[in-house]
């Protein structure tokens, strides 16, 4: 069946019969909806799509997708996805994970899946908290955060998920926000169309244990002034009035007002395809309130995928040695015959 002859699927085709069980108002609903909406766009038949998740509130997502799905164990989804994709290059594999699942217990697997350029799209729901276990600090919780496990505030400095993904050599790195449905669709689409290891952070509101953490910059009335939407090839302009931008002072990014001392021409220009990850790295480290929070694609580069490299070696071995002959193999080496 080629893409042409495929029945045209719609969002509804990707909604499973399972009742959705997140807290009312949870940001996960929006991520699920956007995921279901973007699926038809890939032209991949439903049976060829697999959602693999770890444990956490986010981990429930596969149950709600009418595709194949595997709700695995805490932190290990990338490993299962790696094996599946290596065994079955024909499948489109998504990994659904949370900030604890991906960066606390599962940090190492994420890094290794990324560095291998495993052709998976890993969507990390970052609510900066452990939701399912009822509110402990996560590796993205801000220092000093008071939680059930850290009543005097956590003493651990957070890590920056996007920087981690970049350093792990992910070939696609992006960020979006649960409340911006259009942007999320755009981001999921870009991730879905990428071939190779894609890391997408979605800032997600946990209404129960970390409500409104992102509101200071994602709230409707402020978001244009406090967020930076990255567009390939375009200068880093932001603000309701498009009157602010980011330029480099040596290696230091600075926010400047446009119109007076600085013009758009002075600004950094985004290049998501830059071979060198430095620009993306600098962007990944912009945080509120010193900077607007960047969303969009930070990096998108091409590299041979893990499964393709494995298949190439399989083909090479086959070409060099011919299809394996079990009888011959068993009799290889020194043998002797007793009669």
């Amino acid at each position: 069946m080629t893409a042409e002859t495929l029945p045209v699927l719609t969002r509804k085709d990707f909604v499973s019969d399972q009742e959705v069980r997140w807290c009312p108002g949870c940001g996960d609903y929006s991520i699920l909806a956007q995921t279901q909406k973007t699926m038809p766009d890939f032209g991949v038949p439903r049976e060829k799509i697999v959602f693999i998740s770890g444990i956490g509130c986010s981990g429930r997502l596969p149950y709600y997708m009418a595709t194949y799905g595997f709700h695995t164990i805490h932190g290990r989804a990338p490993t299962i996805a790696t094996g599946l994709k290596a065994a079955r290059p024909d499948l489109m594999v998504w990994v659904i994970t949370g900030d604890g699942d991906a960066l606390s217990i599962g940090g190492n697997h994420v890094i290794h899946a990324m560095r291998r350029n495993v052709d998976i799209r890993l969507i990390m729901f970052n609510n900066q908290i452990y939701g399912l276990t009822k509110g402990q600090a996560s590796p993205t919780s801000e220092i000093g955060k008071k939680t059930k496990s850290t009543p005097q505030g956590t003493v651990d400095r957070p890590i920056v998920p996007l920087s981690v993904a970049l350093t792990a050599e992910a070939t696609f790195v992006a960020r979006s926000v649960d409340t911006d449905t259009a942007h999320m669709q755009e981001t999921l689409l870009a991730a879905g169309h990428h071939r190779g290891s894609a890391f997408v952070e979605v800032l997600q509101n946990c209404v129960i244990f970390n409500d409104d953490t992102f509101a200071p910059f994602t709230a409707k009335d402020v978001r244009e002034d406090r967020m930076l939407v990255l567009r390939h090839g375009e200068p880093l302009v932001f603000g309701k009035e498009r009157d602010k931008g980011i330029r480099l002072d040596g290696l230091r990014p600075v926010v400047v007002e446009l119109g007076k001392e600085w013009s758009v021409a002075d600004l950094l220009v985004h290049d998501e395809t830059a071979a060198d990850p430095t620009l993306a790295y600098i962007l990944s480290r912009l945080t509120y309130p010193d900077f607007p929070v960047p969303v969009g694609v930070l990096r998108r580069v091409q590299a041979p995928t893990h499964d393709a490299l494995i298949e190439a070696q399989m083909a090479e071995a086959l070409a060099k040695r011919g299809p394996g002959d079990l009888g011959k193999l068993l009799l290889a080496g020194e043998t002797w015959t007793v009669s």
């Binding site: 595997f70 709700h71 071995a317």
Partner: protein, 622 residues
Amino acid sequence: MTTQSTAEPRPQVQELDRVTIRFAGDSGDGMQLTGTQFTRTTAAFGNDIATLPDFPAEIRAPAGSLPGVSGFQISFSSNDIHTPGDAPDVLVAMNPAALRTNLADLPPGGALIVNADAFTANNLQKAGYAENPLSDGSLKDWNLFEIPISTLNARALDGLAMTSKQVDLTKNFFALGLMFWLYERSMEPTLRWIEEKFSSKPVIAEANARALKAGYAFGETTEIFHTHYRVKRASLPPGTYRNVTGNEATALGLVAAAQLAGRQMFLASYPITPASDILHQLSTYKHFGVKTFQAEDEIAAIGAAIGAAYGGSMGLTSTSGPGIALKTEAMGLAVMVELPLVVIDVQRAGPSTGMPTKVEQSDLLQLMHGRNGDAPIAIVAPATPAECFDYAIEAWRIALRYMTPVAYLSDGFLATGSEPWKVPSVADLPSIAVEGWTDRETFRPYRRDPETLARPWAVPGTPGLEHRIGGLEKADLSGNISYDPENHHRMTQLRHQKIANIANDIPDLQVYGPSRGDLLILGWGSTYGAIRSAVERLQAEGHAVAHAHLRHLNPFPRNTGEVLGAYRRVLMPEVNMGQLRLLIRARYLVDAVGLNKVRGKPYRIAEIEEAARLLLTEGAAQ
């Protein structure tokens, strides 16, 4: 050349039934290679053989030091033998440290061949000798042959463009050549090997060949050895044979299983001694459709294997005890989602890092019970290196037919020890193919095959079977999440029953010896050879002693209880503190007695014999 041989003049050629030789030297002396070459030649000659390598965990401990000693024992015979020999007849000691660590195993009167050149003050000191044992009379109980191997070898290589260090590295082949002469072996296979191996380094090839021949010639021409020995071909059952180690046979069995099942195999592994060679070997079988993946750790490895299994491949992971400890959470997931999976554990001495290169059978209970919740899996364990081939296939047969994880327990002795293997014809191997599920109408993710209780293997890519699985308790049939109390009880029982049912599908426990009597020795895994030999000796003396060896450890063969009940006493030798014994006692309420030596070494036949005699006399005294 000085020799203190106390050997009596003997006839030129003497016939022997069985000979056991141990090569021992520094890790840098190439003892494993020497042993392997002797083994290949001897196997190809047609003796029955059994080998036991013994090497340090250090890659290369300081030259001449005690921990740096590496050994290789081979026993070969014109009869059917089961062990590498309790004690060597001949010890080849390439330096003082090798002498010191191995001498205790050589019975008085045994032949002791030493490289006299290595007994320098420096080496003696490293080995902790205050006096030179070659001259202080302390070796008078042995048949000592002092040979200046280094010097003789260097002389043989004279004129080759080599450094003296390079020259010295070939002295093991001098020793090998000498042993070839002593036991009437042909140099041909080794000369061929040298030629191939060093085809791009003609000088090295020449040097090794010369060393080998010089050793052989030395035996032939000097009068140190008054005799040489002949050990006739063994009368093995007809067939084509090759020599295999357990790890080799395991790897071959796995490839065979993939071919027999007609599926891609996917091995995900993380290196660990003594299991790594399975990864190494399988990674050269890509043309058989075998994919291998070195993961970032053992958890990732089993995760990837489960992912591959979910995708319809034969997901496999291999490791040793510490790695199993890391895989248990994921094994529980595989139990819950009921996917086929084979987990190979090449056991080593524990606990913790333990003694990485030494043998032990102490992971059985870890594999049986080491998971959260009630999470039963099947367990098989080959008994000899060659059997590893069959049980790799058997593990896969069970995994595929019952949609279950299967643990395959080998150990360091099986893994690196070797024996002749009668190569089966491919046509005689069982088919273990299973079909994936495709029918939409009848599909339910947890509907079970009425006989095996296996659920359908419905892999991604199959149209119309889209469904979700996971580690939360599944509703019967639908596989949806369920917190229903009755469902959990039912599913827990189904998971148990599925594994228990495998007992209907495996051969009965075989007994070697009388079907009832005074004593049954029950073993599993690599203790096979020592137990069998001990039982043969006792039977020869007329004792009503039998041997049974379990290869299926979960579930047990159906007749196990019956077999156990037919003997007055049951003795269970294990290289652990009594792990199988615990399971046997709990299941059959039989007062089995344990023999439990954990020395990082296989049992000697005599140890088992002695324990058995004790039980037999105890009985007599009653």
